[in-house]
């Protein structure tokens, strides 16, 4: 099932051919290759970020971009680079990493390869919150700008409402799961139930809404990185940074959980506490990301799955690799969304799924053929 790292066979053959090298040395060289994959991914992100900062409907050459970043740019290029492109690029890198790493931990904690930040109904809960804000509290209105037919006139109210609803969903699920010792089944099933409850709530609210309000809600639902400015980027960076350190501190526990609940317990892992913490932190990332950016699907599912097939299931490397792959996928998708039919910016959520799905299917088929 795993697309092995190139050269692994060669390493293995050395076990028999070279008696001076023991298994530990071979293993260290093998993990060294995983580290190399991380470095390559990081370099790719930097490369795509450079392309992204130069791309857009306003034509700026590389010199103007560099001058702006160094603080010597013109007023126009400063606005484009500092207020539009850089926050957007950083948002893509950070949110992509957060969503993907949250998916990685959820797939482990729920023992389900289909788990992603939307599994526990967080996206639906956030969408319900946004509907509530726009339709019931009147945060959406019609505007006549050429690019957007509708605007959300009180984005903070929408964000706060979406966040509160997604955290309510998270807390209810975790409280319910607590009764059943945080079993994966209990969490997935209560997630499905709550998800459907929030969907029903959304439909009911929309039934009594006016056309422009529904248009505003639909507009909100399309994930869009353009909504984010420096304060939101800072919040996302702090949250996802802390979450990443937390996940890394639990990486051995996640590896043990992969070997089964009983084995993990026998290796000294407090299975319930690890699951409770993992699910809470990853749900928090999902809730904040969806509240700020709208629904961006597939990154949380496909990011960790791609890396699992390339570097295997060891969470010491899988967690950082998933984060990097999530950043790369969202950054590429957003750059495509901005440039494909410029000056129109396509919803990045659609692009991630549109290109992520075939890539994922390709890896899946290739993985099975290997087996």
């Amino acid at each position: 099932m795993v697309v092995k790292l190139k050269g692994m066979e060669k390493l293995k053959n050395q076990t028999t051919s070279n008696f001076n090298i023991n298994e530990t040395d071979i293993y260290l060289r093998y993990t060294g290759r995983k580290k190399l994959v991380l470095v390559v991914l990081a370099c790719l992100i930097i490369l795509v970020a450079i392309v992204a900062v130069n791309a857009g409907s306003m034509n700026l050459n590389l010199y103007q971009v560099i001058q702006s970043i160094l603080g010597n740019g013109s007023n126009v290029s400063d606005v484009v680079i500092w207020r539009i492109r850089l926050p957007r690029i950083l948002a893509a890198i950070i949110a992509g990493a957060g969503l993907s790493v949250a998916g990685c931990v959820m797939q482990n904690n729920l023992r389900n390869p289909l788990a992603s930040p939307s599994t526990l109904g967080i996206s639906n809960a956030a969408a319900f919150g946004a509907n509530l804000a726009i339709i019931v509290f009147g945060a959406g209105s019609i505007s006549s700008t050429s690019t957007d037919a509708v605007t959300i006139n009180n984005p903070y109210l929408v964000t706060v409402s979406a966040f509160i609803c997604s955290m309510i969903a998270t807390m209810v699920i975790l409280l319910l799961a607590r009764i059943r010792s945080f079993s994966p089944e209990a969490m997935v099933l209560s997630g499905v139930a709550l998800s459907s409850l929030f969907s029903a709530g959304t439909i009911l609210i929309q039934y009594f809404a006016q056309d422009f309000q529904i248009a505003a809600v639909v507009f909100w639902t399309f994930g869009d990185l353009g909504r984010i400015a420096w304060p939101e980027v800072s919040i996302l960076t702090c949250l996802i940074g802390v979450a990443f350190i937390y996940f890394m501190s639990k990486r051995w526990d996640y590896n043990a959980l992969d070997s089964g609940e009983e084995t993990a317990k026998s290796l000294g892992v407090n299975v319930e506490r690890v699951r409770q913490g993992g699910m809470f932190v990853s749900s928090l990332i999902a809730a904040v990301a969806v509240s700020f950016l709208g629904i961006i699907g597939f990154i949380g599912l496909v990011g960790p799955q791609i890396m699992r097939r390339i570097i295997g299931g060891d969470h010491r490397y899988l967690i950082p690799a998933s984060a990097l792959m999530g950043s790369l996928l969202l950054l590429i998708s957003d750059t495509m969304a901005r440039t494909m039919v410029s000056p129109v910016v396509l919803p990045v959520g659609a692009i991630t799924s549109f290109f992520g799905a075939p890539l994922f299917l390709y890896l899946l088929v290739r993985g099975y053929q290997k087996k």
Binding site: M1, K12, W252, E262, K265, L267, G313
Partner: protein, 250 residues
């Protein structure tokens, strides 16, 4: 004395599984836990290292009460091999290194890698170290999980039916390895088994469970046709072939 179990009991909400379990084992002892399906063998093993919490009684490991030790401390003293293994996408080396989990603070140290290497060598798994677990045969996978338990450097091994899914050759090989490790490392082993012939041939002590209670416990002398008949409800004869005791149903 390595392990002492006093008045242990375990109850599910609907029914009682274990009652009044008392026994102890010393360094180098290989204890076979025998009984029909549902007699409480697996539950007993899980109660010893608190994968399940017993509802009464106490378990002592080297005179320390297991219930008062942290999970990490228990994991440093008791290695456990579950009945069923998950098919994991993990290399053999990583799987055995996981046995060092109770000792690892942030990253595996040089010592952890050395002990992993030693455990691989003990189970003759060196050449498989970079193979994925789910690409191995049942026998090889069983050896990997035993190596992982040994990497914990335990004083006691708990093995839940380690031979049940293996062919004849692998059954003998795995039990011989367990026996050798228990002798050489002077640790204890509590092994639940279905194969009476393997048990009677390799174990030093026997615990016959019937309906959640100890029916008989002791050395080879408890493995009488009468006791086996009472526990398994079938007639058997215990014979010797070339000096090896065998149990034959009649």
């Amino acid at each position: 004395m390595i392990l002492s179990v006093n008045e242990l009991a375990f109850t599910y909400p609907s029914h009682s599984v274990l009652q009044k379990i008392n026994f102890s084992i010393c360094k180098g002892d290989f204890l076979a836990v025998l009984g029909v399906n549902g007699a409480g063998k697996s539950t007993l093993l899980k109660c010893i290292n608190r994968v399940l919490k017993p509802c009464a009684g106490a378990v002592f490991i080297q005179n320390d009460e297991v219930g008062k030790l942290s999970q990490r401390e228990i994991a440093k003293r008791i290695g456990y091999v579950a009945q069923r293994q998950e098919s994991v996408c993990m290399t053999v080396y990583d799987a055995v290194l996981l046995g060092r989990k109770p000792y690892i603070q942030w990253e595996a140290s040089k010592k952890d890698l050395e002990i992993t290497h030693k455990a691989l060598k003990m189970l003759e798994l060196e050449e498989y170290s970079l193979r994925y677990l789910n690409e191995l045969s049942g026998g090889e996978q069983q050896k990997v999980v035993i190596a992982r338990a040994l990497a914990q450097e335990p004083n006691l091994l708990l093995l839940d039916e380690p031979t049940s899914s293996l062919d004849l050759k692998n059954q003998l090989e795995v039990v011989k390895i367990i026996k050798r490790v228990v002798r050489n490392q002077q640790i204890g082993a509590v092994v639940s088994m279905h194969d009476l012939n393997l048990a009677i041939r390799f174990a030093d002590k026997f615990l016959l469970l019937k309906n959640g209670e100890i029916f008989a416990a002791g050395g080879l002398e408890v493995m009488t046709p009468e006791n086996i008949e009472s526990v398994y409800s079938i007639s058997v004869k215990v014979k010797e072939i070339d000096g090896i005791p065998v149990v034959v149903p009649v």
